[in-house]
Amino acid sequence: MRDAVVVGRPRVGKTRFVEALSSYLGRVETSSASLPVEDPLRRGRRGDGVLSPVTVRDRRGRPWLRLVDTAALRDEIPDHAETRRAMAVSLARLQEAAIVFHLLDAAQAGRLSGYRPPLLDLEMRAYGLTRPLYVIIATKSDMPAAAEGVRRIRTRFPEDLLIAVSLPNRRGLREVRRLLLVHAAR
């Protein structure tokens, strides 16, 4: 079973994406039991948008994928120790994952004049590319300006796998599922 980790800056839509994808994939179960004892995730904090990993099973009930939501990575060094700790957990999760979904907010990319990905996203991508499967998920593609945002992201990273996703109209989830079926079952 492989880990697919969902990473990105604050409020790009990580948690909603994990929720929507798990319900789309079906046969899921949330487990906090598998986490190490000192893991802040066990405390059920949802403030920073951290959820417990979700295990996805196939028709025969065998687990084939673990979907892992993470706390947002931030540009700055956060003042709060808890926030830093959550980020540290995110990076540890990222390291263990075979599949990386890197979420970029397409609506925001479309609104800004001239899309310049922040350094954090550049480094995130550079690291992600060292993993077996790295996919850029352009989120909120239903929102105004998002079409332009998706185009800009695609232009900036022409060689990368990119899927535009919109949760209200479930756009993109099918493509994500198809990729997972190919790459997770190893």
Binding site: L73, R74, D75, E76, I77, P78, A81, R84, R85, M87, A88, L91, A92, Q95, L119, L120, L122, E123, M124, A126, Y127, T130
Partner: protein, 324 residues
């Protein structure tokens, strides 16, 4: 054996994650370091004999920690493996070629050529390829003399100092400059002869800009066969330059604000895109860093009051600006 395997690897990624948690580094830096640690781990996996030579492993780990230069690192790992295997073959009384390890380094100034040459000298010393491993750095002016015979004498002198170590000829293509009567020719011939006379007593590295070196070697086919190893030192990418800046600033106990980092990133991107020869190399970063610290000093002295430790450490966006 015990301490050998991890002897030189300085930042395993669990340390990096701990630093992030302790608030010592921002997330983007943690990611960059995790990536470097991964690369190191991967490079190590390709070397089967490493734990037999802890000293060599330590030196190669130093090389692996340099920013960028992936191809150079890979080739050095290969050379290292080759030397080790040849030695094991000798011990097993198998045929073993004495290796010719003279090299050409192609790359702009400030891309790490001298640093790598120095590391190679030390590596070859612990591998017992070279008895001393010192680096003697010369350029045309050190070799070429003013009358017939003078050049040969000066070149032999440089070789003599380099015996047991590395003779590093910077901007070597300049030896072929000028007319046929130029004494550069004499220097080249003397070097070729020295390689014959002092086989495996010293290592010759000819270095210089890629295009010039290509033309130079083309015009001197006799050299090419004697310098079988070619290492390319590409200009650094923007992210690599930023990583270099981070290291330099950390060493000097400075740090950047987020806006400052953005300014620097823009500036580096701009120099790479539009800059001439100097762009994309480590020297550019050093100059920018030094100028920024000067500008910070001026800015701070204008504040007629006590300065905090943080203020003394912090480079702001305005410190990276061009004017002044």
């Amino acid at each position: 054996m015990g301490e050998s395997t991890d002897a030189g690897t300085s930042q395993p990624s669990h340390d990096v994650i701990r630093w992030l948690e302790a608030g010592r580094i921002p997330a983007h830096q943690a990611l960059a370091r995790m990536r470097a640690a991964d690369e190191q781990a991967r490079a190590r996996r390709t070397i089967p004999l490493e734990d037999r030579t802890p000293a060599a492993a330590r030196i190669v780990a130093e090389l692996d920690q340099l920013v960028g230069l992936q191809a150079v690192k890979r080739q050095v790992h290969e050379i290292w493996a080759l030397v080790e295997v040849q030695r094991l073959r000798q011990r097993a009384e198998l045929a073993s070629e004495p290796h010719t390890l003279h090299m050409v380094f192609s790359g702009a100034p400030g891309t790490g050529k001298t640093t790598v040459a120095r590391i190679l000298g030390r590596l070859f010393r612990v591998l017992e390829v070279l008895p001393k491993g010192q680096l003697v750095e010369v350029e045309r002016a050190d070799l070429v003399g003013e009358y017939i015979g003078h050049t040969a004498h000066r070149t032999r002198e440089a070789v003599r100092r380099a015996l047991g170590g590395v003779l590093f000829v910077d901007e070597a293509y300049a030896l072929a400059r000028g007319s046929d009567k130029d004494f550069g020719r004499e220097a080249i011939d003397t070097l070729v002869k020295a390689m014959e006379d002092h086989k495996s007593e010293f290592l010759l590295i000819l270095a210089g800009y890629p295009q010039e070196m290509t033309a130079f070697l083309h015009a001197n086919p006799g050299l090419v066969s004697r310098l079988p190893i070619h290492l390319n030192f590409p200009n650094y990418t923007t992210l690599e330059l930023l990583q270099i800046a981070d290291t330099m600033l950390a060493e000097r106990e400075y740090r950047m604000t987020a806006e400052g980092r953005e300014s620097l990133l823009q500036k580096l991107g701009h120099s790479i895109q539009f800059g001439a020869g100097g762009a994309g190399n480590g020297r550019l970063v050093r100059n920018l860093v030094e100028r920024a610290t000067r500008r910070q000093a001026v800015r701070l002295m204008r504040q007629q009051r006590e300065l905090t430790r943080t203020e003394l450490m912090t480079l702001e966006s305005s410190d990276w600006e061009q004017d002044g």
